[in-house]
Each structure stands twice: as structure tokens, then as C-alpha cells.
Symmetry: C2
Subunit: 173 residues, 2 copies
């Protein structure tokens, strides 16, 4: 599709006679005055926007430890369920079993967890190392700060309502 990069000489807009605005005002107005009421009543849109904000702050929060959000969640689940299999971890996180392998490889290469053999020689038992436990404790502090920022954003009351309402999605069933 070799379309011209930018339609060079389109037909002129002489017939429309659009309202002429000063450019300074146009830039400001177009940014500030776009009506999004049609979207703010759709919960899916709001949840997506909230997720973008939270995710961005979460990433920055854990960046000093070189941990990605998904990796943090893996460490937490492994800490609270020492010895679980990769399959169980994948299902609980809602990821395909092939999707957790790269992050697990990464975490293992950093010495934060280990894959131990079990009686069922197909599976690996996942455990945190001492180093992993220590780093996760650090991460928990940072995550707590992140939660504080979210609480400032939505208010203490809104924060608790959020946790209560969204608890339905916490357990995948």
C-alpha cells in the first residue's frame, strides 16, 4: 500500500467556511474542552484509565528494585504458597503457562527464587530464596507507598470502597 505519505494537495476547504479561531486559543481549547461525558459513564473506560494510572505508578514504584509488576505478583504468590507448581502459579495469575517462563527465568537468574524438583518429576516446586524474601520485603514497603499515593488520588473512603467492590475480581472462579 504505497499511499502518499501525506495527501499533498487535497481539495481546498473553501466551501466549508469554518469558524476561524486564533491558534493559541484553539490549542488550549482542543485540549481542555473535549467532551468525554459519553465515556465517563462507561465503567470499562474508567477502569482502563485507572489501570493505566496505577500501572504507571506501580512500575515507577518498583523500578528501584528492577522488578516489574507481574514479577512482584509472582514473588508474593510464591512466598504465600511455597512449593507450588508453575502451572498453579500461571492459573492463579491468569497467564498462560508458557507466559510465566521468561519472568521466572529472570527471577531465578537473579537468585530470588529457585525451582526445586519434586516427587512428580514433571513439576518444579517454586520457593523464594533468602535473597528473594529480603527483596520482597523491600518491595512491600514500596508498594505500600504506592497504595498511599492511590489513596491520595481517590480519597481514603474511595480507596476502601475500591478494594471492597473489586474484591469480586480477586478470586478467579
Amino acid at each position: 500500500m504505497n499511499r502518499p505519505r501525506r495527501a499533498p494537495t487535497r481539495e481546498t476547504a473553501t466551501d466549508a467556511g469554518p469558524p476561524i479561531k486564533t491558534t493559541a486559543r484553539r490549542a488550549a481549547k482542543q485540549r481542555a474542552e473535549v467532551n468525554v461525558d459519553g465515556l465517563t459513564s462507561v465503567a470499562g473506560y474508567l477502569i482502563r484509565q485507572a489501570q493505566l494510572w496505577v500501572f504507571e505508578d506501580f512500575v515507577e514504584t518498583l523500578a528501584p528494585l528492577s522488578l516489574r509488576p507481574a514479577q512482584y505478583s509472582m514473588l508474593v504468590v510464591i512466598r504465600d504458597n511455597a512449593g507450588l507448581s508453575q502451572m498453579a502459579l500461571a492459573e492463579v495469575l491468569g497467564i498462560g503457562r508458557s507466559g510465566i517462563i521468561p519472568p521466572l527465568d529472570y527471577l531465578e537468574s537473579r537468585g530470588l527464587l529457585q525451582r526445586s524438583p519434586t516427587s512428580d518429576r514433571r513439576t518444579h516446586a517454586l520457593h523464594l530464596t533468602a535473597q528473594g524474601t529480603k527483596l520482597l520485603a523491600e518491595a512491600d514497603k514500596l508498594v505500600h507507598q504506592h497504595e498511599q499515593r492511590l489513596m491520595e488520588k481517590v480519597g481514603p473512603r474511595g480507596y476502601q470502597q475500591l478494594l471492597r467492590v473489586l474484591a469480586v475480581f480477586g478470586t478467579r472462579s
Copy 2:
């Protein structure tokens, strides 16, 4: 280490085989035993899980109209802000200005919107066509059904709390 590496040897496809019987009893059992309390207190995790549920239902909701969620949101903003530029649309949706071009091309190719020239010949004014307006009305009905399903999931009270709390993220400023 001494663990045998199970590396597949790429070979031609064997017979696909019959449909697999779901013996996921074990998996379901193991999943039920996994403790995820360490994550359900993190709002970011809950929001992500909620977003996954909502997004999946949203996609299925709009599938009969061959509309993706992002495309629906574009149509809504264009309807409520007829004539806005691609830059303004991109900013309001939180996407890069290069990211909206493929979906806009798609929507335009379906005859749902049109890019009209303006006095500023760099910009395009986005408008819904009659067909686009009609399809969006259909989509709105389906989205309303989607919102009903979400309300059943979190309860009427939880639904309204959700909208109220997340309203903070609705306007990007």
C-alpha cells in the same frame, strides 16, 4: 544444572488428535488451594483483574458489530465532539498520535467516519457519517447490556461507587 532440559525438536506436525477431554479437576483443585490474600489487598492487582474481566466482556459485547473497544471510544468522542482533530482525539484517549491512525483508517474504510479538510490544512476534522451514527447507536445498546452485566457482578451499589471513585481518572489533565 542436572535437571534435564526438555527441549523440543522441531518436526512436522503429527495428527491433531481428537478433542481433549477436560480433566481439569486437579487443576481446579490446586487453584482453589492457592492463597492470594497477599495480592487482593493491592489495589493495582484488583484493578488489573477487573480490567481483564471487563475488557473480555466488552470485546464480546461489541463483536457482533465488528468493533473493538478502542474503536468504540473513538466513535463516541467523535460523535460528542464533531470536527475535532486527530491530535485532540489522541490526547483525550491517552494514545500517541501515531497509534490512532490504523483504527481511524479502519473506521473510515467501513464508512463510519470521515476526515474532512479544514481551514488549517494540516489537520483533519473528524465527523461521523450517517452510517457511523447509526452503528454507534446500536453499539450503545450493547454497551448498556454490558454495563448491566457488570452491575450484576459488583452489585448496583458497588457499581455506582465504582463510577464515582474512578471518575478521578476519567479526565486527563
